[in-house]
């Protein structure tokens, strides 16, 4: 009824749901459940306990909604996990599992996206015989098995839409244009789009700086808006800029399918810019705090003996504070040879080190939740309330609400597709730090499917100019692949270059996260395996291997081109035989 392009969105949504289920299965089954069942329970270690200062508010709904309090100190986030090499009677290797699941989710996602692209490309190559397009639609589209009047109505609507689609295609292919005017208008439109993008980037930058200022002064002094400013601004930008792009694109006068691609491309650039500004700002925040404290340590340097600048300075301060605090337990004397037994302290009272991974994970979870809320509220207000208003106030209004402003809304394909893709990008980026993200996303997609389905059937009208969606979904897939690649860069960078927090998480105590692999090779595999692995990871072996892969890609590409040509020849022969 609504055309094949709207249908393609829902098919895409369903496919994403399948992927997220698998990711959920991996993170839930191999990371969250083992730690919950076999790891040390809540309250046994400092990293697993809510600090004394926060205990009073830890169970409040507001705190839990914000994913602090008890939610923060649970299997949902990175910080809870212990760095014990094996846990439980199964000798489950928790840090190794965490690392491999993180890498595995990314690898699996790459594999499945590329496999789907390849499959779509295969189907696309079949091509369709359009010699009797209209006649076939006319004579053969009715399904004689339909016996139900409602189904028949839907079929009528879909046939009508299909006719209109075909007519639009035909008209577009015959259009004449005034080349110079069109070119000028297109250049103007692109210029306006660039201005919008630049403005949006600057706004995000400004808002994040402001939030850093608020954070330094302490968040308790500010109301709800200041605390959630960044999330709200990002969601609002995501809501209004696409509409702006839509208005700009009416200058360009493209075929609707091409206009959709430009629209998708611009919104893509918008969301990408926003997301990356957000990430950089977060990194900046960690570094800002660290650099401020670094300045303090310069003046306190006579108290710190070692000068290992590889660690974040903030951690050194905390470690120093912890030694002071321990000393205070021994009533003021700092024992040189501590032969006294360690005093039992409640884990809630132990001072904590900073845990930037949990912080990052929390930010991603909050962003996902606020994004979901914004989408649902937009549907309820923008579509449903608007439809109710138009339907019922039409009787007592001066002009015809259904045909003029505001009328019923159309289903916004580009906005929804991109929202889906960027949401997935956030999940991929954040699931290493917050194993609960795939679970949240599965729930979100599940409700989203039904809510949007209901909203489309109930409150939307088909677009005025329906057009046939392109045969395959490869355009969406290509964008998804690009986003996947970009999302994995931050996680890979942190695994390889940034030292993990010393006080929380499964990699605490190591200098780099990937050391868990070498540790496993040492302890769990026979020694010759380690040697073989050492030889295999020699750059002298890896570079020729990469060269070989590039050459084989080139060869396969060449053979596939020749197959396509042979295919076309055969098709031509078939056609000439048939029409004889």
């Amino acid at each position: 009824h609504f055309g094949s392009s709207v249908a393609s969105y829902f098919i895409f949504l369903r496919w994403m749901y399948g992927i997220n289920m698998i990711l959920f299965g991996l993170t839930f089954g191999l990371v969250m459940v083992p730690e919950a069942l076999m790891g040390k329970p809540y309250g046994s270690l400092p990293r697993k306990t809510v600090p004394r200062a926060e205990e009073a508010t830890a169970m409040n709904f507001a705190t839990l909604w914000d994913f602090s309090g008890f939610a923060q100190y649970s299997v949902l986030f990175y910080g809870y996990y212990n760095n014990q090499r094996t846990i439980g009677w199964l000798k489950f290797r928790m840090p190794l599992s965490y690392f491999l699941v993180g890498v595995g989710t990314i690898g699996y996602s790459f594999m499945i996206v590329i496999r789907t692209m390849a499959r779509n490309a295969n189907e696309d190559g079949g091509g369709d015989d359009t010699s009797f397009n209209f006649s076939w639609k006319m004579f053969t589209s009715w399904d004689y098995l339909i016996g139900n009047p409602e189904t028949a109505d839907n079929k009528f609507a879909s046939i009508t839409t299909s006719f209109k689609e075909a007519i639009v295609e035909e008209q577009e292919s015959r259009k004449e244009e005034n080349i110079h005017l069109t070119r000028f208008l297109r250049v103007l439109a692109n210029f306006l789009a660039l201005c919008t993008l630049a403005g949006s980037g600057y706004l995000i930058f400004f808002v994040v700086r402001r939030s850093q200022k608020f954070a330094l002064e302490g968040l308790e002094n500010y109301g709800w808006w200041e605390r959630n400013e960044v999330n709200m601004v990002m969601s609002l930008l995501g809501m209004f800029c696409p509409t702006l792009f839509d208005v700009i694109s009416s200058l360009e006068n493209y075929h609707p399918r091409i206009a959709l691609r430009w629209q998708l491309g611009r919104i893509f650039a918008l969301f990408l810019g926003n997301l990356y500004t957000f990430i950089i700002a977060l990194m900046d925040e960690i570094n800002l705090k660290a650099s401020v404290l670094f300045l303090f340590t310069i003046f306190n340097r006579h108290m710190c003996k070692d000068e290992d600048f590889q660690q974040l300075e903030e951690e050194k301060i905390v470690k120093y504070n912890m030694t002071i605090w321990e000393a205070s337990l021994y009533n003021g004397t700092i024992p040189e040879n501590s032969t006294a037994p360690p005093i039992q302290v409640d884990p809630a009272d132990v001072p904590r080190g900073p845990c930037w991974e949990t912080m990052v994970g929390q930010e991603f979870v909050r962003l996902t939740v606020s994004d979901t809320m914004t989408t649902y509220i937009t549907i309820l207000i923008g579509d449903f309330l608007r439809a109710v208003f138009v339907r019922f106030f039409n009787y007592c209004w001066c002009w015809d609400l259904e045909y003029g402003f505001p009328s019923y809304s159309e289903f916004d394909i580009s906005g929804n597709v991109l929202g889906l893709i960027f949401n997935q990008g956030m999940i991929w980026m954040g699931s290493f730090y917050a194993p609960c993200l795939p679970a949240i996303n599965v729930f979100r997609l599940h409700t989203s499917m039904y809510l949007q389905c209901w909203a489309v059937m109930c409150c939307n009208v088909p677009q005025e100019r329906v057009f046939k969606a392109s045969r395959s979904n490869n355009f969406y897939m290509a964008m998804l692949l690009f986003i996947l690649f970009l999302s994995t860069l931050p996680a890979v960078y942190t695994i390889v270059s940034i030292p993990p927090s010393f006080d929380c998480g499964p990699f605490s105590g190591k200098t780099r996260m990937f050391e868990v692999i070498s540790e496993t090779l040492e302890h769990d595999f026979p020694s010759w395996f380690g040697k073989v692995f050492g030889y295999a990871s020699n750059p002298g072996l890896i570079l020729p291997f990469i060269l070989l892969m590039v050459l084989s890609i080139y060869y396969l590409n060449a053979t596939s081109k020749s197959y396509k040509e042979a295919n076309l020849e055969l098709k031509k022969k078939l056609q000439s035989v048939r029409s004889r």
Binding site: I146, F156, I159, A166
Partner: protein, 204 residues
């Protein structure tokens, strides 16, 4: 009206309870003359006699069912071509489009799985020919489009769209460029469609 058929249709099961009123020779004849199998004919007989009032069920073979009764069948109820189908398959002399059992069997046979594409396209042509003049001219095509787009006002195509559509169809299918589509042109177009055989099927 005997149209040759290919291989026999359904299996040779028992006679079936309700089919006991159908004489054996008639059953055999019907199997020869149509594309339906024994079970299908018996089932058709059962459905047909259910459409009749109780008194006439004894003589189902020779009774005629009025058009409005035929249209209550679920297969025809939602079909936009219901009236044309009744008109084409009815052999009634009075022009009231009532159907006898043999007309009914005829209809089911053409719409069955085993009917050939030739037979189907022949009858489809007759169904689409609204003014029964042996060709599909502009008026027929316009009526056809109106049937397909449903009865609502919003779903009808505008005049410009209709013009464009008919123009395109005639460009594609009208080989001798006389402004109408005759049977052989229609069969030429439709036999190349992958969807035709799939959709043009009724199952009881």
């Amino acid at each position: 009206r005997c149209h040759g058929r290919g291989s026999p249709g359904g299996g040779s099961g028992a006679m079936g309870g309700a089919g006991s009123l159908l004489p054996r020779e008639a059953l055999g004849e019907y199997q020869e003359l149509t594309f339906l199998g024994k079970q299908e004919i018996l089932l058709a007989y059962k459905r047909f006699s259910e459409l009749l009032p109780k008194e006439e069920r004894e003589n189902a073979c020779s009774a005629r069912v009025p058009k409005n009764q035929i249209l209550t069948l679920p297969e025809l109820r939602a079909n936009p071509f219901q009236h044309r189908i009744c008109r084409v398959f009815s052999t009634s002399q009075d022009g009231d489009d009532s159907m006898s059992f043999e007309d009914f069997l005829d209809m089911l046979s053409v719409f069955s799985d085993s009917a050939t594409s030739d037979v189907k396209s022949h009858y489809a042509f007759r169904i689409f020919d609204f003014n029964d003049d042996g060709t599909l001219d502009r008026k027929d095509l316009e009526k056809l489009v109106d049937c397909l787009t449903g009865q609502g006002e919003e779903s009808r195509l505008s005049n410009a769209e209709m013009e464009q559509l008919i123009q395109n169809i005639l460009e594609e299918s009208d080989i001798d460029k006389d402004g109408t589509i005759n049977l052989s042109e229609f069969q030429h177009v439709v036999s190349r469609s992958p969807d035709f055989a799939r959709y043009c099927v009724l199952q009881s």
